[in-house]
Protein backbone atom coordinates (compact mmCIF):
# COMPACT_ATOMS: atom_id res chain seq x y z
CA UNK A 1 0.00 0.00 0.00
CA UNK A 2 2.77 2.37 0.98
CA UNK A 3 4.59 1.52 -2.20
CA UNK A 4 1.58 2.31 -4.31
CA UNK A 5 1.26 5.65 -2.59
CA UNK A 6 4.90 6.48 -3.18
CA UNK A 7 4.55 5.54 -6.80
CA UNK A 8 1.45 7.66 -7.32
CA UNK A 9 3.07 10.60 -5.56
CA UNK A 10 6.06 10.44 -7.80
CA UNK A 11 3.73 10.30 -10.77
CA UNK A 12 2.06 13.50 -9.54
CA UNK A 13 5.46 15.04 -9.12
CA UNK A 14 6.48 14.06 -12.58
CA UNK A 15 3.29 15.55 -14.03
CA UNK A 16 3.98 18.74 -12.13
CA UNK A 17 7.51 18.87 -13.49
CA UNK A 18 6.25 18.46 -17.02
CA UNK A 19 3.68 21.22 -16.52
CA UNK A 20 6.28 23.50 -14.99
CA UNK A 21 8.66 22.91 -17.89
CA UNK A 22 5.91 23.65 -20.40
CA UNK A 23 5.01 26.83 -18.54
CA UNK A 24 8.60 28.12 -18.55
CA UNK A 25 8.99 27.25 -22.19
CA UNK A 26 5.90 29.30 -23.08
CA UNK A 27 7.13 32.07 -20.80
CA UNK A 28 10.53 32.11 -22.49
CA UNK A 29 8.98 32.31 -25.96
CA UNK A 30 6.59 35.08 -24.91
CA UNK A 31 9.50 36.91 -23.31
CA UNK A 32 11.38 36.86 -26.61
CA UNK A 33 8.35 38.11 -28.50
CA UNK A 34 7.76 40.98 -26.10
CA UNK A 35 11.49 41.68 -26.04
CA UNK A 36 11.67 41.98 -29.82
CA UNK A 37 8.76 44.40 -29.94
CA UNK A 38 10.29 46.40 -27.08
CA UNK A 39 13.64 46.55 -28.83
CA UNK A 40 12.13 47.77 -32.11
CA UNK A 41 10.02 50.37 -30.30
CA UNK A 42 13.02 51.54 -28.27
CA UNK A 43 15.23 51.95 -31.36
CA UNK A 44 12.39 53.80 -33.08
CA UNK A 45 11.73 56.13 -30.14
CA UNK A 46 15.35 56.86 -29.26
CA UNK A 47 16.58 57.01 -32.87
CA UNK A 48 14.05 59.69 -33.75
CA UNK A 49 15.19 61.71 -30.73
CA UNK A 50 18.90 61.71 -31.55
CA UNK A 51 19.50 64.79 -33.75
CA UNK A 52 22.43 63.23 -35.60
CA UNK A 53 20.28 60.30 -36.77
CA UNK A 54 17.04 62.19 -37.43
CA UNK A 55 18.81 64.92 -39.42
CA UNK A 56 20.93 62.61 -41.59
CA UNK A 57 18.69 59.59 -42.14
CA UNK A 58 15.10 59.82 -43.37
CA UNK A 59 14.19 56.53 -41.68
CA UNK A 60 14.81 58.24 -38.31
CA UNK A 61 13.15 61.53 -39.26
CA UNK A 62 9.95 61.87 -37.19
CA UNK A 63 8.43 63.87 -40.04
CA UNK A 64 8.33 60.61 -42.02
CA UNK A 65 8.20 57.86 -39.40
CA UNK A 66 6.69 59.66 -36.40
CA UNK A 67 7.64 57.96 -33.11
CA UNK A 68 6.00 55.41 -30.81
CA UNK A 69 5.09 57.86 -28.04
CA UNK A 70 3.33 60.14 -30.55
CA UNK A 71 1.54 57.14 -32.12
CA UNK A 72 0.29 55.92 -28.76
CA UNK A 73 -0.98 59.41 -27.92
CA UNK A 74 -2.75 59.56 -31.27
CA UNK A 75 -4.39 56.20 -30.66
CA UNK A 76 -5.57 57.45 -27.28
CA UNK A 77 -7.00 60.59 -28.94
CA UNK A 78 -8.88 58.51 -31.48
CA UNK A 79 -10.41 56.17 -28.96
CA UNK A 80 -11.00 57.91 -25.62
CA UNK A 81 -9.14 61.25 -25.85
CA UNK A 82 -9.64 64.49 -27.76
CA UNK A 83 -11.29 62.87 -30.79
CA UNK A 84 -12.95 60.07 -28.84
CA UNK A 85 -14.77 57.60 -31.04
CA UNK A 86 -13.10 58.77 -34.25
CA UNK A 87 -11.55 55.34 -34.88
CA UNK A 88 -14.57 53.09 -34.45
CA UNK A 89 -16.53 53.80 -37.69
CA UNK A 90 -13.37 53.27 -39.77
CA UNK A 91 -12.46 50.09 -37.95
CA UNK A 92 -15.99 48.82 -38.29
CA UNK A 93 -16.12 49.55 -42.02
CA UNK A 94 -12.89 47.62 -42.63
CA UNK A 95 -13.89 44.69 -40.41
CA UNK A 96 -17.33 44.29 -41.96
CA UNK A 97 -15.97 44.41 -45.50
CA UNK A 98 -13.23 41.90 -44.57
CA UNK A 99 -15.67 39.41 -43.08
CA UNK A 100 -18.22 39.69 -45.90
CA UNK A 101 -15.43 39.32 -48.47
CA UNK A 102 -14.13 36.31 -46.59
CA UNK A 103 -17.49 34.57 -46.38
CA UNK A 104 -18.23 35.17 -50.06
CA UNK A 105 -14.82 34.08 -51.32
CA UNK A 106 -14.63 31.00 -49.11
CA UNK A 107 -18.10 29.81 -50.05
CA UNK A 108 -17.72 30.43 -53.80
CA UNK A 109 -14.14 29.13 -53.81
CA UNK A 110 -15.28 25.97 -52.08
CA UNK A 111 -18.24 25.34 -54.39
CA UNK A 112 -16.32 26.03 -57.61
CA UNK A 113 -13.23 24.13 -56.40
CA UNK A 114 -15.28 21.08 -55.50
CA UNK A 115 -17.24 21.22 -58.75
CA UNK A 116 -14.05 21.45 -60.81
CA UNK A 117 -12.45 18.56 -58.96
CA UNK A 118 -15.45 16.35 -59.71
CA UNK A 119 -16.15 17.40 -63.29
CA UNK A 120 -12.86 16.60 -64.93
CA UNK A 121 -13.94 17.97 -68.31
CA UNK A 122 -15.11 21.27 -66.88
CA UNK A 123 -11.74 21.64 -65.14
CA UNK A 124 -9.82 20.89 -68.33
CA UNK A 125 -11.86 23.36 -70.41
CA UNK A 126 -11.73 26.22 -67.91
CA UNK A 127 -8.29 25.63 -66.38
CA UNK A 128 -6.32 27.93 -68.75
CA UNK A 129 -8.68 30.81 -68.00
CA UNK A 130 -8.38 30.31 -64.26
CA UNK A 131 -4.59 30.20 -64.50
CA UNK A 132 -4.61 33.34 -66.67
CA UNK A 133 -6.87 35.20 -64.23
CA UNK A 134 -4.76 34.06 -61.31
CA UNK A 135 -1.52 35.27 -62.95
CA UNK A 136 -2.86 38.79 -63.52
CA UNK A 137 -1.69 41.46 -61.09
CA UNK A 138 -5.09 41.69 -59.45
CA UNK A 139 -4.27 44.99 -57.79
CA UNK A 140 -4.36 46.55 -61.26
CA UNK A 141 -8.09 45.89 -61.37
CA UNK A 142 -8.91 47.69 -58.14
CA UNK A 143 -9.40 51.14 -59.76
CA UNK A 144 -11.76 49.57 -62.27
CA UNK A 145 -13.63 47.72 -59.50
CA UNK A 146 -13.97 51.01 -57.63
CA UNK A 147 -15.34 52.72 -60.72
CA UNK A 148 -17.86 49.97 -61.30
CA UNK A 149 -18.95 49.34 -57.71
CA UNK A 150 -18.55 52.81 -56.27
CA UNK A 151 -16.83 54.16 -53.16
CA UNK A 152 -18.71 52.08 -50.60
CA UNK A 153 -18.80 48.59 -49.17
CA UNK A 154 -19.40 46.82 -52.48
CA UNK A 155 -16.07 47.60 -54.12
CA UNK A 156 -14.16 46.59 -50.96
CA UNK A 157 -15.98 43.27 -50.83
CA UNK A 158 -15.45 42.62 -54.52
CA UNK A 159 -11.72 43.37 -54.24
CA UNK A 160 -11.38 41.07 -51.22
CA UNK A 161 -13.30 38.36 -53.05
CA UNK A 162 -11.18 38.76 -56.17
CA UNK A 163 -7.99 38.25 -54.16
CA UNK A 164 -9.12 35.45 -51.84
CA UNK A 165 -11.29 33.41 -54.18
CA UNK A 166 -8.37 31.84 -56.03
CA UNK A 167 -6.58 30.86 -52.86
CA UNK A 168 -9.63 28.95 -51.62
CA UNK A 169 -10.49 27.62 -55.04
CA UNK A 170 -7.04 26.11 -55.67
CA UNK A 171 -6.85 24.58 -52.20
CA UNK A 172 -10.28 22.97 -52.49
CA UNK A 173 -9.62 21.83 -56.03
CA UNK A 174 -6.38 20.17 -54.98
CA UNK A 175 -8.12 18.48 -52.06
CA UNK A 176 -10.98 17.29 -54.21
CA UNK A 177 -8.53 15.72 -56.62
CA UNK A 178 -6.39 14.17 -53.88
CA UNK A 179 -9.16 11.93 -52.55
CA UNK A 180 -8.22 8.25 -52.55
CA UNK A 181 -10.16 6.11 -54.94
CA UNK A 182 -10.23 3.23 -52.43
CA UNK A 183 -12.19 5.39 -50.02
CA UNK A 184 -14.90 5.95 -52.62
CA UNK A 185 -14.92 2.31 -53.72
CA UNK A 186 -15.18 1.24 -50.10
CA UNK A 187 -18.22 3.46 -49.53
CA UNK A 188 -19.75 2.03 -52.69
CA UNK A 189 -19.48 -1.46 -51.20
CA UNK A 190 -21.31 -0.07 -48.14
CA UNK A 191 -24.18 0.72 -50.47
CA UNK A 192 -23.66 4.43 -51.15
CA UNK A 193 -25.03 5.99 -54.32
CA UNK A 194 -23.31 8.93 -56.04
CA UNK A 195 -25.24 11.55 -54.09
CA UNK A 196 -24.41 9.89 -50.77
CA UNK A 197 -20.74 9.64 -51.70
CA UNK A 198 -20.68 13.34 -52.50
CA UNK A 199 -22.30 14.18 -49.19
CA UNK A 200 -20.42 11.82 -46.93
CA UNK A 201 -17.00 11.63 -48.59
CA UNK A 202 -16.25 14.26 -51.22
CA UNK A 203 -17.63 17.32 -49.42
CA UNK A 204 -16.08 16.64 -45.98
CA UNK A 205 -12.77 15.76 -47.63
CA UNK A 206 -12.72 18.99 -49.66
CA UNK A 207 -13.90 21.03 -46.66
CA UNK A 208 -10.84 19.90 -44.75
CA UNK A 209 -8.63 21.43 -47.44
CA UNK A 210 -10.77 24.58 -47.51
CA UNK A 211 -10.46 25.05 -43.76
CA UNK A 212 -6.68 24.89 -43.87
CA UNK A 213 -6.79 27.91 -46.19
CA UNK A 214 -8.84 29.98 -43.68
CA UNK A 215 -6.05 31.78 -41.77
CA UNK A 216 -4.41 32.87 -45.03
CA UNK A 217 -7.77 33.73 -46.54
CA UNK A 218 -8.60 36.13 -43.70
CA UNK A 219 -5.21 37.90 -44.06
CA UNK A 220 -5.68 38.33 -47.77
CA UNK A 221 -9.26 39.48 -47.35
CA UNK A 222 -8.07 42.23 -45.01
CA UNK A 223 -5.35 43.21 -47.48
CA UNK A 224 -7.89 43.35 -50.31
CA UNK A 225 -10.22 45.60 -48.34
CA UNK A 226 -7.42 47.99 -47.36
CA UNK A 227 -6.24 48.23 -50.98
CA UNK A 228 -9.78 49.06 -52.11
CA UNK A 229 -9.92 51.70 -49.39
CA UNK A 230 -6.64 53.15 -50.66
CA UNK A 231 -7.94 53.48 -54.16
CA UNK A 232 -11.30 54.97 -53.44
CA UNK A 233 -13.51 55.05 -50.39
CA UNK A 234 -14.77 57.38 -47.72
CA UNK A 235 -14.27 55.16 -44.67
CA UNK A 236 -12.00 52.44 -43.36
CA UNK A 237 -8.49 51.93 -42.08
CA UNK A 238 -7.08 52.11 -45.60
CA UNK A 239 -8.85 55.43 -46.08
CA UNK A 240 -7.25 56.70 -42.85
CA UNK A 241 -3.81 55.68 -44.03
CA UNK A 242 -4.13 57.25 -47.45
CA UNK A 243 -5.58 60.53 -46.15
CA UNK A 244 -2.90 60.89 -43.47
CA UNK A 245 -0.32 60.29 -46.15
CA UNK A 246 -1.89 63.01 -48.28
CA UNK A 247 -1.79 65.44 -45.37
CA UNK A 248 1.74 64.37 -44.43
CA UNK A 249 0.61 63.28 -40.98
CA UNK A 250 2.89 60.41 -40.09
CA UNK A 251 1.51 59.88 -36.56
CA UNK A 252 -1.96 59.34 -38.02
CA UNK A 253 -0.63 56.93 -40.60
CA UNK A 254 1.33 54.81 -38.13
CA UNK A 255 -1.55 54.83 -35.68
CA UNK A 256 -3.79 53.43 -38.40
CA UNK A 257 -1.13 50.86 -39.38
CA UNK A 258 -0.80 49.77 -35.75
CA UNK A 259 -4.54 49.20 -35.50
CA UNK A 260 -4.48 47.31 -38.77
CA UNK A 261 -1.72 44.95 -37.69
CA UNK A 262 -3.49 44.31 -34.39
CA UNK A 263 -6.68 43.52 -36.30
CA UNK A 264 -4.70 41.14 -38.52
CA UNK A 265 -3.18 39.29 -35.56
CA UNK A 266 -6.54 38.97 -33.80
CA UNK A 267 -8.43 37.82 -36.90
CA UNK A 268 -5.81 35.27 -37.92
CA UNK A 269 -5.63 33.87 -34.37
CA UNK A 270 -9.42 33.59 -34.23
CA UNK A 271 -9.51 31.74 -37.52
CA UNK A 272 -6.65 29.48 -36.48
CA UNK A 273 -8.74 28.55 -33.45
CA UNK A 274 -11.74 27.96 -35.69
CA UNK A 275 -9.64 25.84 -38.04
CA UNK A 276 -8.35 23.76 -35.13
CA UNK A 277 -11.89 23.23 -33.88
CA UNK A 278 -13.20 22.22 -37.30
CA UNK A 279 -10.19 20.02 -38.03
CA UNK A 280 -9.96 18.25 -34.69
CA UNK A 281 -10.20 14.93 -36.51
CA UNK A 282 -6.93 15.59 -38.30
CA UNK A 283 -3.64 14.25 -36.87
CA UNK A 284 -2.03 17.59 -37.68
CA UNK A 285 -4.06 19.20 -34.93
CA UNK A 286 -3.88 16.34 -32.44
CA UNK A 287 -1.52 17.99 -29.96
CA UNK A 288 -3.53 21.16 -29.57
CA UNK A 289 -6.91 19.43 -29.83
Amino acid sequence: MADVQALSLSREDRLRTVARKAFWRRFRLAFWQVGLVGLAVAIWEIGTRIPFLSKNFNVFDPFFVSRPSAIILRLYDWTFGAKAGFLWPHLEATLIATLIGLVLSVSTGFVVGLLFSQKRELAIVLNPFIVALNSLPRIAFVPLITMIFGLGLASKVVTAWFIVFFLVFFNTFKGGMAIEKELIEFCRTLGANERQITRSVRIPNALGWTFTALPNAVSFSLIGVVIAEFVGSTTGMGYLIITSLATLNSADMFAALTVLSLVGVVLVSLFKLLERRLMRWSPEFREQG
Binding site: E185, F186, R188, G191, A192, S200, N205, R280, W281
Partner: protein
Protein backbone atom coordinates in the same frame (compact mmCIF):
# COMPACT_ATOMS: atom_id res chain seq x y z
CA UNK B 1 -21.91 -18.83 -55.26
CA UNK B 2 -19.29 -17.07 -57.36
CA UNK B 3 -18.48 -18.23 -60.85
CA UNK B 4 -15.37 -17.01 -62.60
CA UNK B 5 -15.54 -17.88 -66.24
CA UNK B 6 -12.46 -17.42 -68.45
CA UNK B 7 -11.29 -14.23 -66.74
CA UNK B 8 -8.45 -12.48 -68.49
CA UNK B 9 -6.95 -9.06 -67.84
CA UNK B 10 -4.52 -7.13 -69.99
CA UNK B 11 -3.43 -3.62 -69.03
CA UNK B 12 -2.70 -1.65 -72.18
CA UNK B 13 0.01 0.96 -72.13
CA UNK B 14 2.14 2.73 -74.71
CA UNK B 15 5.40 1.12 -73.69
CA UNK B 16 4.42 -2.42 -72.79
CA UNK B 17 1.14 -4.21 -72.35
CA UNK B 18 0.89 -6.13 -69.10
CA UNK B 19 -0.89 -9.43 -69.33
CA UNK B 20 -1.79 -9.80 -65.65
CA UNK B 21 -4.44 -12.52 -65.66
CA UNK B 22 -4.09 -15.24 -68.25
CA UNK B 23 -7.19 -17.33 -67.91
CA UNK B 24 -8.95 -18.08 -64.66
CA UNK B 25 -12.11 -20.12 -64.21
CA UNK B 26 -13.38 -21.51 -60.95
CA UNK B 27 -16.42 -21.79 -58.74
CA UNK B 28 -16.50 -20.64 -55.13
CA UNK B 29 -19.33 -22.04 -53.06
CA UNK B 30 -21.47 -20.25 -50.56
CA UNK B 31 -19.90 -20.07 -47.11
CA UNK B 32 -16.45 -21.07 -48.31
CA UNK B 33 -13.33 -19.37 -46.99
CA UNK B 34 -10.96 -19.26 -49.94
CA UNK B 35 -7.48 -17.76 -49.99
CA UNK B 36 -5.76 -16.71 -53.18
CA UNK B 37 -1.97 -16.71 -53.09
CA UNK B 38 0.60 -16.12 -55.79
CA UNK B 39 3.70 -14.14 -56.73
CA UNK B 40 3.39 -10.37 -56.94
CA UNK B 41 1.94 -9.06 -60.17
CA UNK B 42 -0.14 -12.18 -60.75
CA UNK B 43 -3.36 -10.19 -60.59
CA UNK B 44 -4.66 -11.40 -57.21
CA UNK B 45 -5.97 -7.97 -56.28
CA UNK B 46 -7.18 -7.34 -59.82
CA UNK B 47 -9.27 -10.47 -59.56
CA UNK B 48 -10.98 -9.13 -56.44
CA UNK B 49 -11.49 -5.78 -58.16
CA UNK B 50 -13.18 -7.56 -61.04
CA UNK B 51 -15.47 -9.54 -58.71
CA UNK B 52 -16.46 -6.31 -56.93
CA UNK B 53 -17.15 -4.55 -60.23
CA UNK B 54 -14.40 -1.94 -59.72
CA UNK B 55 -12.53 -3.16 -62.77
CA UNK B 56 -13.50 -4.67 -66.09
CA UNK B 57 -12.04 -7.97 -67.28
CA UNK B 58 -10.54 -7.96 -70.77
CA UNK B 59 -12.30 -11.24 -71.39
CA UNK B 60 -14.55 -13.53 -69.39
CA UNK B 61 -17.44 -13.10 -67.04
CA UNK B 62 -18.11 -13.10 -63.30
CA UNK B 63 -21.35 -14.17 -61.71
CA UNK B 64 -22.12 -13.44 -58.06
CA UNK B 65 -25.21 -15.17 -56.67
CA UNK B 66 -26.35 -15.99 -60.18
CA UNK B 67 -26.10 -12.42 -61.49
CA UNK B 68 -23.45 -11.29 -63.95
CA UNK B 69 -21.28 -8.55 -62.44
CA UNK B 70 -21.56 -5.25 -64.26
CA UNK B 71 -18.35 -3.22 -64.19
CA UNK B 72 -19.13 0.01 -62.34
CA UNK B 73 -21.81 -1.55 -60.16
CA UNK B 74 -20.97 -3.31 -56.91
CA UNK B 75 -22.95 -6.55 -56.44
CA UNK B 76 -25.33 -6.31 -53.52
CA UNK B 77 -24.36 -7.76 -50.13
CA UNK B 78 -20.68 -7.55 -50.99
CA UNK B 79 -18.11 -6.32 -48.50
CA UNK B 80 -14.56 -5.31 -49.41
CA UNK B 81 -11.60 -4.64 -47.15
CA UNK B 82 -8.69 -2.82 -48.74
CA UNK B 83 -5.07 -2.98 -47.71
CA UNK B 84 -5.17 0.81 -47.41
CA UNK B 85 -6.94 2.59 -44.60
CA UNK B 86 -10.48 3.32 -45.68
CA UNK B 87 -12.09 4.65 -42.53
CA UNK B 88 -13.31 8.23 -42.85
CA UNK B 89 -10.90 10.33 -40.76
CA UNK B 90 -13.44 13.05 -40.00
CA UNK B 91 -15.96 10.64 -38.46
CA UNK B 92 -15.75 9.10 -35.02
CA UNK B 93 -15.61 5.31 -34.65
CA UNK B 94 -19.37 5.21 -34.02
CA UNK B 95 -20.18 7.36 -37.04
CA UNK B 96 -17.89 5.28 -39.22
CA UNK B 97 -19.49 2.01 -38.22
CA UNK B 98 -22.98 3.41 -38.79
CA UNK B 99 -22.07 4.81 -42.23
CA UNK B 100 -23.46 1.92 -44.27
CA UNK B 101 -26.64 1.86 -42.19
CA UNK B 102 -27.09 5.59 -42.75
CA UNK B 103 -26.75 5.02 -46.50
CA UNK B 104 -29.69 2.63 -46.17
CA UNK B 105 -31.67 5.14 -44.06
CA UNK B 106 -31.91 2.68 -41.18
CA UNK B 107 -33.90 4.10 -38.21
CA UNK B 108 -31.74 5.74 -35.54
CA UNK B 109 -32.63 3.27 -32.80
CA UNK B 110 -31.74 0.27 -34.97
CA UNK B 111 -28.44 1.87 -35.88
CA UNK B 112 -27.61 2.44 -32.22
CA UNK B 113 -28.38 -1.16 -31.30
CA UNK B 114 -26.42 -2.58 -34.17
CA UNK B 115 -23.42 -0.33 -33.62
CA UNK B 116 -23.34 -1.28 -29.94
CA UNK B 117 -23.33 -4.97 -30.88
CA UNK B 118 -20.59 -4.45 -33.46
CA UNK B 119 -18.43 -2.45 -31.06
CA UNK B 120 -18.66 -5.40 -28.70
CA UNK B 121 -17.81 -7.84 -31.49
CA UNK B 122 -14.73 -5.81 -32.41
CA UNK B 123 -13.65 -5.15 -28.80
CA UNK B 124 -13.89 -1.44 -29.40
CA UNK B 125 -16.20 -0.46 -26.55
CA UNK B 126 -15.09 2.82 -25.03
CA UNK B 127 -13.71 4.06 -28.36
CA UNK B 128 -17.09 5.15 -29.83
CA UNK B 129 -16.24 8.83 -29.86
CA UNK B 130 -12.60 8.47 -30.84
CA UNK B 131 -11.37 9.73 -34.19
CA UNK B 132 -9.49 7.23 -36.37
CA UNK B 133 -6.12 9.01 -36.12
CA UNK B 134 -6.16 8.34 -32.38
CA UNK B 135 -6.43 4.57 -32.94
CA UNK B 136 -3.71 2.05 -33.69
CA UNK B 137 -3.41 0.51 -37.14
CA UNK B 138 -4.98 -2.74 -35.94
CA UNK B 139 -7.93 -0.93 -34.41
CA UNK B 140 -8.54 1.02 -37.62
CA UNK B 141 -8.55 -2.29 -39.46
CA UNK B 142 -11.21 -3.54 -37.07
CA UNK B 143 -13.28 -0.40 -37.60
CA UNK B 144 -13.15 -0.96 -41.37
CA UNK B 145 -14.20 -4.58 -40.87
CA UNK B 146 -17.09 -3.53 -38.60
CA UNK B 147 -18.18 -0.91 -41.13
CA UNK B 148 -18.48 -3.70 -43.64
CA UNK B 149 -20.10 -6.18 -41.26
CA UNK B 150 -22.76 -3.60 -40.36
CA UNK B 151 -24.07 -4.09 -43.90
CA UNK B 152 -24.27 -7.87 -43.38
CA UNK B 153 -22.38 -8.91 -46.50
CA UNK B 154 -22.88 -12.41 -47.85
CA UNK B 155 -19.59 -12.17 -49.69
CA UNK B 156 -16.51 -10.65 -48.09
CA UNK B 157 -13.50 -9.77 -50.25
CA UNK B 158 -10.31 -9.17 -48.30
CA UNK B 159 -7.44 -7.61 -50.22
CA UNK B 160 -4.28 -8.23 -48.16
CA UNK B 161 -6.06 -6.72 -45.17
CA UNK B 162 -3.42 -7.61 -42.60
CA UNK B 163 -0.33 -6.88 -44.68
CA UNK B 164 0.71 -3.69 -42.91
CA UNK B 165 0.27 -5.01 -39.36
CA UNK B 166 2.75 -6.51 -36.90
CA UNK B 167 2.60 -10.26 -36.23
CA UNK B 168 0.92 -9.92 -32.85
CA UNK B 169 -1.91 -7.70 -34.11
CA UNK B 170 -2.29 -9.79 -37.23
CA UNK B 171 -2.71 -13.02 -35.26
CA UNK B 172 -5.33 -11.45 -33.01
CA UNK B 173 -7.25 -10.25 -36.05
CA UNK B 174 -6.99 -13.75 -37.56
CA UNK B 175 -8.66 -15.07 -34.46
CA UNK B 176 -11.43 -12.50 -34.66
CA UNK B 177 -11.95 -13.09 -38.35
CA UNK B 178 -12.31 -16.85 -37.87
CA UNK B 179 -14.83 -16.40 -35.09
CA UNK B 180 -16.82 -13.86 -37.14
CA UNK B 181 -16.84 -16.20 -40.11
CA UNK B 182 -17.94 -19.14 -37.95
CA UNK B 183 -20.81 -17.09 -36.58
CA UNK B 184 -21.99 -15.46 -39.78
CA UNK B 185 -20.88 -17.89 -42.47
CA UNK B 186 -20.19 -15.39 -45.21
CA UNK B 187 -18.32 -16.46 -48.28
CA UNK B 188 -14.82 -15.03 -47.85
CA UNK B 189 -12.16 -14.57 -50.48
CA UNK B 190 -8.84 -13.52 -49.00
CA UNK B 191 -5.96 -12.34 -51.15
CA UNK B 192 -2.62 -12.63 -49.40
CA UNK B 193 1.06 -13.20 -50.03
CA UNK B 194 1.41 -14.85 -46.66
CA UNK B 195 1.01 -18.62 -46.94
CA UNK B 196 0.94 -19.03 -43.14
CA UNK B 197 -2.07 -16.76 -43.04
CA UNK B 198 -3.79 -18.62 -45.87
CA UNK B 199 -3.34 -22.05 -44.27
CA UNK B 200 -4.36 -20.79 -40.83
CA UNK B 201 -7.59 -19.21 -41.99
CA UNK B 202 -8.99 -20.84 -45.07
CA UNK B 203 -10.80 -23.97 -46.23
CA UNK B 204 -9.35 -23.81 -49.65
CA UNK B 205 -6.28 -22.24 -51.19
CA UNK B 206 -5.94 -21.25 -54.83
CA UNK B 207 -2.38 -20.78 -56.02
CA UNK B 208 -1.91 -18.51 -59.03
CA UNK B 209 1.08 -18.61 -61.35
CA UNK B 210 3.26 -15.76 -62.46
CA UNK B 211 1.56 -13.43 -64.94
CA UNK B 212 -0.23 -14.08 -67.17
CA UNK B 213 -1.69 -16.01 -64.29
CA UNK B 214 -3.65 -19.21 -64.25
CA UNK B 215 -4.60 -21.54 -61.42
CA UNK B 216 -1.66 -23.77 -60.54
CA UNK B 217 -3.15 -25.51 -57.56
CA UNK B 218 -6.56 -25.62 -55.94
CA UNK B 219 -6.06 -27.20 -52.55
CA UNK B 220 -8.61 -28.07 -49.89
CA UNK B 221 -7.36 -27.37 -46.37
CA UNK B 222 -8.61 -30.19 -44.21
CA UNK B 223 -7.61 -28.81 -40.81
CA UNK B 224 -10.74 -29.17 -38.68
CA UNK B 225 -12.53 -26.26 -37.02
CA UNK B 226 -12.52 -24.67 -34.53
CA UNK B 227 -8.91 -23.74 -35.22
CA UNK B 228 -6.75 -22.05 -32.67
CA UNK B 229 -4.71 -19.44 -34.54
CA UNK B 230 -1.88 -19.68 -32.03
CA UNK B 231 -1.41 -23.43 -31.92
CA UNK B 232 -2.59 -24.49 -35.38
CA UNK B 233 0.86 -23.78 -36.76
CA UNK B 234 2.33 -26.57 -34.65
CA UNK B 235 0.01 -29.27 -35.96
CA UNK B 236 1.25 -31.83 -38.47
CA UNK B 237 -1.69 -31.06 -40.81
CA UNK B 238 -0.59 -27.44 -40.97
CA UNK B 239 2.96 -28.44 -41.88
CA UNK B 240 1.67 -30.93 -44.43
CA UNK B 241 -0.53 -28.37 -46.19
CA UNK B 242 2.12 -25.73 -46.00
CA UNK B 243 4.65 -28.11 -47.62
CA UNK B 244 2.34 -29.17 -50.45
CA UNK B 245 1.45 -25.63 -51.39
CA UNK B 246 4.89 -24.21 -50.87
CA UNK B 247 6.32 -26.74 -53.31
CA UNK B 248 4.24 -25.08 -56.05
CA UNK B 249 4.26 -21.51 -54.77
CA UNK B 250 7.96 -21.45 -53.91
CA UNK B 251 8.81 -22.58 -57.43
CA UNK B 252 6.72 -19.70 -58.81
CA UNK B 253 8.49 -17.22 -56.53
CA UNK B 254 11.83 -18.56 -57.76
CA UNK B 255 10.81 -18.31 -61.40
CA UNK B 256 9.31 -14.87 -60.88
CA UNK B 257 12.77 -13.61 -60.05
CA UNK B 258 13.63 -13.55 -63.74
CA UNK B 259 13.97 -10.06 -65.16
CA UNK B 260 10.49 -8.63 -65.61
CA UNK B 261 11.26 -7.67 -69.22
CA UNK B 262 11.75 -11.28 -70.17
CA UNK B 263 8.38 -12.26 -68.75
CA UNK B 264 6.66 -9.43 -70.55
CA UNK B 265 8.61 -10.11 -73.72
CA UNK B 266 7.00 -13.50 -74.15
CA UNK B 267 3.80 -11.92 -75.39
Amino acid sequence: MIELNGIEKIYLSKTRDVHAIGNISTIINEGEFVSIVGPSGCGKSTLLHIIAGFDEPTAGRVKVAGKTVNPGTVPSALGYIFQKDTVLPWRSVRDNISLGLQYRSTPRADIDNKVAALLKLGNLQGFEDTFPHQLSGGMRRRVALLMTLACEPKLLLLDEPFGALDTHTRTLLHKELISIWRQMRQTIILVTHDLDEAVTLSDRIIVLSRPPSRILLDQHVSIPHPRDVFSVRDTPEFAEHFRTIWKVLGQEFRDAQQPADLVGGLH
